[in-house]
Amino acid sequence: MYTDKVMDHFQNPRNVGEIENANGVGEVGNAVCGDIMKIYLQVEDNRIVDVKFKTFGCGAAIATSSMVTEMVKGKTLEEALEITNQAVAEALDGLPPQKMHCSNLAADALHKAIQDYRSKLAG
């Protein structure tokens, strides 16, 4: 059902946890549909220097969360905003079709966290 890459990220999720003084936090999903993802960012000089996640969800939800954190670490915000849910799924060698909509939200959570950072900056 899941690719080896999905299973690897599911079993050994990268960057689990919270960043205490994160300057950007994004959350998507809700418990009704079964997926909640929260992404914490530490941004310095427009660059993501640290990222962590917490996820309530299925194998796909956990793997996409883990994968997105790996993909963005060290990237500028502009580069990070170019990452799509589709790109995350591809980086995992694909997801089962029924998981594409409900669990493939990690990039959305990332974008929300960046928005949060920018609005705080503007704030």
Binding site: Y2, V16, G34, T55, G57, C58, G59, K99, S103
Partner: protein, 387 residues
């Protein structure tokens, strides 16, 4: 890695003794039982014997009350659609419960589109239907009540005999889906007082692809599968002799060993339930504590999602199941847990462990050993858990 199978409610392996009984009916004894020649008479005899065995095992008055079908789902469809279409001139109202298997639930939904009216009785927090609710729901247009004997997810056993008494007085037909109970707890159509009953071989160590509908003599049933005159014109199609022989054998064996299996499974199940409830915080048992199937344990672990729990257990060699939406391919979590008033969040974190005759205490101990680690890891990852 040793694998531990704790998903006996989903399906069971075929008992080697059952397979042995089936084997003569593939290559050697293969005639069509409708044929009048010796090849056909041979399998006709096997078919008649199997029918007599099943009738005896479930307490039917006559072998002709046994209709062989291709699955539990087909039996459910046939009972409900068969009665609905045959008794439409008497009434158009059907009563069922909110926690039926999809084979009943979706059939009722289909009949609603065909103009029938269906009442879905609520259940309490433990999954029990209240006979008083049923009484209230009856109208003079009610032609059929269909309530499952025991639920496949939470294992709650319904008060079938009590409901039957109410319906007998009113002469309303009563069907029960006994797919989960047959071979696990006593199933006797006479004692239950039902008019129609469904069962499926693969839940009691028989083959997949064969089921039974019991229909009390005199009940009219519009076929679901039209065609040849098999099964007294009630279910067309060349009979699956090997499967039918296997079903009968499996039922015989299961009922023979039922008292002892049931006792030892109940003990193991209680050991599992007691330990889980003791070992974990934020866990609840779904279903009734005692009125439940001998092999069924169903928990909700708060703050975690069922599929990730299952995948982790699978990585440890443990096969289990969940009412989580993600494992069923639908977006909603189990209508059974929601129907019992359990909120979405908690329904998502459900874990069903169903024990079978081969389950050992060592296996349960292994589950109890690896479960905390998994639950802790997933909770540590969960944004809902703030400990």
């Amino acid at each position: 890695m040793k694998r531990i199978y704790l998903d006996h409610a989903a399906t069971t392996p075929v008992d080697p003794e059952v397979l042995e009984a089936m084997l003569p009916y593939y290559v050697e004894s293969f005639g069509n039982p409708s044929s009048i020649h010796s090849f056909g008479r041979e399998t006709r005899k096997a078919l008649d014997q199997a029918r007599a065995t099943v009738a005896k095992e479930i307490g039917a008055a006559e072998p002709s009350e046994i209709i062989f079908t291709g699955s539990g789902s087909e039996s459910d469809n046939m009972a409900i659609k068969g009665v609905a279409l045959s008794y439409r001139e008497k009434g158009d109202h059907i009563i069922t419960s909110a926690i039926e298997h999809h084979a009943v639930f979706d059939t009722c939904k289909f009949l609603e589109k065909q103009g029938f009216k269906v009442t879905y009785l609520p259940v309490n927090g433990e999954g029990l239907v209240n006979p008083a609710d049923l009484k209230q729901a009856l109208t003079d247009k009610t032609i059929l009540v269909t309530i499952m004997h025991a639920n496949n997810e939470v294992g709650t056993i319904q008060p079938i005999a009590e409901i039957a008494k109410i319906l007998k007085e009113r002469k309303i037909l009563f069907h029960t889906d006994a797919v989960q109970t047959t071979g696990s707890i006593p199933v006797d159509v006479h004692e239950l007082g039902v008019d129609l009953l469904s069962l499926a071989a693969h839940k009691f160590y028989g083959p997949k692809g064969v089921g039974v509908l019991y229909a009390r003599k005199g009940i009219r049933l519009t076929p679901v599968i039209h065609g040849g005159a098999q099964e007294r014109n009630r279910r067309a199609g060349t009979e699956n002799i090997a499967g039918i022989v296997g079903l009968a054998k499996a039922l015989e064996l299961a009922n023979q060993k039922l008292p002892e299996t049931s006792k030892s499974l109940t003990e193991l199940r209680d050991y599992l339930i007691d330990n889980v409830l003791q070992k974990f915080e934020y866990v609840r048992l779904n279903g009734h504590r005692t009125r439940r199937l001998p092999g069924n344990a169903n928990f909700s672990f708060e703050f975690i999602e069922g599929e990730s729990l299952l995948l982790n257990l699978d990585l440890k060699g443990i096969a289990a199941s969940s009412g989580s939406a993600c494992t069923s391919g639908s977006l909603e979590p189990s209508h059974v847990l929601l129907g019992m008033g359990i909120c979405h969040e908690i329904a998502h974190g459900s874990l069903r462990l169903t024990l079978g005759k081969s389950t050992t205490k060592e296996e349960i101990d292994y589950v109890l050993e690896v479960l905390p680690e998994i639950v802790n890891k997933l909770r540590a990852m969960s944004p809902l858990y703030n400990n």
